[in-house]
Symmetry: C2
Subunit: 313 residues, 2 copies
């Protein structure tokens, strides 16, 4: 079995153990998105599970937001593969005490997130269970798919949008404070960067993934998959406006707070040196690819070591 | 939105409410399998969730069996659509107290079920959660897809294999008895009828579904989707050898016990009158399609009313 190398972490140890046990009963695991050639199409598939108490708490979000957020997290994997969404399948469980209408409210959020990027709800399954859980599978097509592997020394490392907004909201939620409204929106209704992903692929993107587990963790996976070193200058990381206040409370530099934050669902992309600009969305160069291995983070010229983001539970 | 008519039941009321709320943000819901045209391929997709305490109890099954059973249930939807499996995506949750190895054991069962029908594990997601849950999404391709709609008056109604084996095991489990080994195998390691489904499509199958919720419930959905009446003679229903003893304990005729049983994952298929036989697998004619609406069950010439199967929880 050909398996995409992953950086360290408990979740990735699990994936490695499963890949070993399955052998050739599995296709390449370790990418967020599977690419399968069917006839004349390349189909992109990804699955993502959202669990009450692990990925969200019900007090923080409406049911529509829980549905949107779960679907957007899965659709974001299609964005990182430069795929065009076709649709989503949603397997939902809700505790017995939840009214029937809660199923509809969750699916309403799932459907809204799919429709926002041109996809449809294709199917799903509903069951009673112990907690709110949403397992979302997304399907899309890719004419020029981008993977985690493909970065070469000399390429530039870029990131879309702003980071740290979701973490700013999460930090406030966990402290029992009302989050900044813009930060709350980043947490509750993240936007999969579908159009950006496809445009970046057209510009010759070499490697791409979505920043779901924090820049520190995700950039390490891209480096491992591409078998290169990534050198990122943290002061170049674009920070969400809500980061400054929460970073100050946490006694962290803004860029460190933003780089450790997960679930922003922006794209981390490696572009060739000849990339000529022209993006109509925020896109910032934050580092470069060098020969070697691993992730090197620098702040004001000094090396920094950060952990990835492993959700709050 | 075009929505496939469904017979009654709480689960189907849920699907109807969701279809109404989603409007044109959903494709046709109400079939177990979505069919999507991508380039020159027709892609079949289905999602199925298995929840500890609702669909199984951990005392009854090994982790490998739990994984196999969840994947087989989803793959069975591909069988009913006459699709050829490509692969599965598995979103798993396990309680914190479960050792890491349990993820591998569940995925081992998922991978074995996929490999048994020529599919691969394409991806998935892993999380901690409150209970064992497996959300399995399957993808396949169909050159001659079969749906629930399409039965015409005069067609014959047939069923593959034998029914009631899974219910015989479940009845024993619930009573704290050790099930008959062959019945236990039907519950723990059901076999998706992929080859049978494709062969039946080649014979001109008009409509098909898998018997997951019991013949009584599922045949009603086929009748509703096809806008016809189905008349089934219960004494013709092929019963698993373990049915007789359990039916006697339950004081039910064997055929009634078998027809009420769910999760056998055999195929209920409507074949045209000119069907000439030649199946290399067990296939029994159990009734016919007539003009009208709804399901009519008869035992020794007398009408019988049976409920569908709504799992044990």
């Amino acid at each position: 079995m050909s398996n995409t190398p992953l950086a360290g972490g408990a979740e990735f140890d699990r994936i490695r153990a499963i890949a070993t046990a399955l052998g050739d009963r599995a296709r390449e695991l370790g990418n967020d998105t599977a690419l399968v050639k069917l006839g004349d199409s390349t189909v992109a598939l990804s699955a993502d599970v959202s669990v009450e108490g692990v990925h969200f708490r019900r007090e923080w979000l409406s049911f529509e937001e829980i549905g949107w957020r779960a679907a957007a997290a899965a659709l974001s994997d299609l964005a990182a593969a430069a795929a065009e969404p076709v649709g989503v399948l949603a397997a939902l469980t809700l505790p017995e005490r939840e009214p029937e209408h809660s199923f509809v409210a969750l699916m309403d959020g799932v459907g809204a997130a799919a429709a926002a990027v041109g996809g449809k709800v294709l199917g799903g399954d509903l069951s009673r269970g112990g907690a709110i859980q949403l397992a979302i599978t997304v399907i899309g097509t890719a004419t020029r798919p981008v993977r985690r592997a493909g970065a070469s020394p000399g390429d530039g490392v870029w990131v879309t949008g702003e980071l740290g907004g979701a973490r700013a909201a999460l930090t406030a939620f966990l402290a029992g404070r009302e989050p900044d409204p813009a930060a709350r929106a980043r947490f509750a209704r993240p936007e999969p960067r579908i159009a950006a992903g496809r445009w970046l692929a057209e510009q010759g993107a070499r490697a791409m993934l979505d920043v779901s587990d924090g820049l520190a963790g995700d950039a390490g996976h891209l480096a491992a998959a591409s078998n290169v070193a990534l050198v990122l200058e943290l002061e170049r990381v674009p920070c969400h406006p809500a980061v400054h206040a929460e970073a100050a409370r946490a006694a962290e530099p803004d860029a460190v707070f933003a780089a450790k934050g997960g679930e922003d669902y922006e794209l981390l992309v490696v572009l060739p040196p000849e990339y000529a600009g022209g993006a109509t969305f925020p896109l910032h160069r934050i580092g470069e690819v060098r020969a070697g291995a691993g992730l090197q983070l620098e702040l004001a010229g000094e090396p920094v070591v950060l952990s990835g983001y492993e959700h709050f539970a």
